[in-house]
């Protein structure tokens, strides 16, 4: 449904997105995960046709975003980050304005507005001024304006940001209910959010894809392969040689040594093998001193730790 290839967007000297390639299948919910400033919003703005990419192309539903912008706009619903409002309008006035832009006749328009008010739980607030709405309700109005023309594709930029846990759950349920009917691409910087709502995840950082897969496979990847860092007393060469022979160890590197008697070593292990007991045993058998031993995750987890703020438990 969505095919982005080699997307690059430069703002002067800054590369916000560089050579990003991905695709989303029909009816799929894709999570776009990355820290703030990773290029998520820029990518979504390109998809929504707000500005063109510097290089690369986007096809949505078979239309090119540059050449058939109008056709694409008819097929997408876009919720920008921090949904902007016209504070002077009421919820119904606003949604009716958006709906009339979609060329519905009056009757159809009123039906669509009513329908979307119902879907997004806005019935009780339909006559409130937008500026009087709480953040959660504003976000629902944002979703409502993206849904009012019943688009095939939804582009949601941080749909749950700034909401309380109850509102987050409601919005997530709403998004999940689109699975199979609409193609959804949503961005977030919260890891559990994607595992709860998305079928596939794309992790991006500094404008590049760093990992891709189902939430389950990514989680497995993170928890398996790891580094073990040890600090031991003994002749470094002997330690390296002995520990290389331990089954499950792929590589061992000395990171730091002090006067040839003590050193810090980084041991890379095979996926899903915990070698810590064997390492400890080998050191004790050789009568060296084991000072510290620590399990360190592989680069993917490094990425997560650096890039992705863990959501506080609800």
């Amino acid at each position: 449904m969505i095919n982005a290839s080699h997307l690059t967007k430069e703002f002067g000297p800054i590369k916000a997105v560089s050579d990003l390639t991905f695709s989303v299948n029909k009816g799929e919910i894709l999570g776009f995960l990355g820290p703030n400033g990773a290029g998520k919003t820029t990518t979504m703005r390109i998809l929504a046709g707000i500005f063109p990419p510097t290089r690369g192309s986007v096809m949505i539903a078979g239309f090119d975003v540059l050449e058939n912008s109008m056709e694409i706009r008819k097929r997408i619903g876009y919720l920008p980050e921090q949904f902007p409002i016209y504070p002077e309008l009421t919820v119904t006035e606003y949604l009716a304005m958006v709906a009339s832009i979609w060329d519905f006749d009056r009757k159809k328009r009123d039906e669509q507005v009513k329908d979307v008010l119902e879907k997004c739980g806005l019935r009780s607030e339909q006559n409130s001024l937008l500026r009087r709405l709480s953040r959660g309700y504003r976000q629902r109005v944002g979703l409502a304006q993206a849904l009012v023309h019943d688009p095939e594709v939804l582009i949601l930029d941080e749909p749950t940001v700034g909401l309380d846990p109850k509102q987050i759950r409601e919005i997530r349920e709403l998004i999940k209910s689109f699975q199979g009917q609409k193609t959804v691409i949503l961005s977030t910087h919260i890891l559990p959010e994607v595992s709860m709502t998305c079928q596939r995840v794309l992790i991006i950082n500094q404008g590049k894809v760093v990992a891709e897969g189902t939430p389950e496979s990514l989680t497995r990847q993170i928890e398996s392969g790891a580094h073990v860092q040890i600090q031991a007393q003994g002749p470094p060469e002997d330690i390296v040689r002995t520990l290389s022979a331990v089954p499950g160890v792929l590589e061992i590197k000395m990171v730091k040594s002090s006067d040839g008697r003590e050193g810090t070593f980084l041991i890379q292990t095979k996926e899903s093998v915990d070698v810590r007991p064997q390492i400890a045993q080998a050191i004790v058998e050789n009568h060296w001193g084991l000072l510290t031993m620590q399990l360190q995750y592989l680069s993917l987890e490094d990425i997560f730790v650096k890039l992705v703020t863990k959501e506080e438990s609800e």
């Binding site: 703030n36 400033g37 919003t41 046709g49 500005f51 902007p84 006035e93 304005m97 009339s100 060329d103």
Partner: protein, 254 residues
Amino acid sequence: MKIFPLLNKELKIAFSSATAYVTFTVFLLIVGYLFVGQSLMLAKESFAYGATGTSVMDAIFRVLFHDAAVILLFLTPAMTMRLLAEEKRAGTLELLLTYPLNDLEIILAKFCSAFASVVIFLLPTILYSIFIQRFAPIEWSVLATQYLGILLLCGSYIAVGLWASHLTDNQIVAATLTIGILLGLWLIAWIGQSSPLASWSVVLGQLSILNHFDSFSKGVLNTSDITFYLLLILFFLYVTLKGLESRSWWGRSE
């Protein structure tokens, strides 16, 4: 046409803020004050010297429309500053650009909404002519020309204001820039009258936005003056459209 939902929205927003009502009140107070003053002056003169042959069109309305033109030069920027600057600041423009609207429709809706506001401002002034008609004959064709002139003039003010509003996301900057440009377009004729530039005075006078209003205020329909205003409006709408289409105003904001 998809302009109407947008136009409807613009007018709703314009008349839900204090700006429109304050501008409206200030305009009517000043114009009303000038109207009363001008009428009293004429009454006193005719009482002292008898009927002098000066028509009310010359003595009252011509002066009044000239004053209104200057007052509106300062007041229309208050109506236009919001148009694009505020949508840019709030981020609502980003959303508008994802709807199936082309940029021309957005610009025309903005222009028409400001123009409609000005028409609403001017409507009550029709009462002046109805009032005067009880004492002296009104030349309705002259009055119609005067109204046409002021509408064209205000259209130019609005086009300049809309252009200034698309440059920035700050309403004050937009308003100040608009007033600056309009004052410049007014006073440009004055420098032409100074001696070193005397040979240019005709050209510079032709550029002056208020000089072209003279014929209208006298009740004379002059094609070149109408063309001047229409060209000015089209020019500023065109550069606004090009500016909006280029999206170059879009900074990185993430």
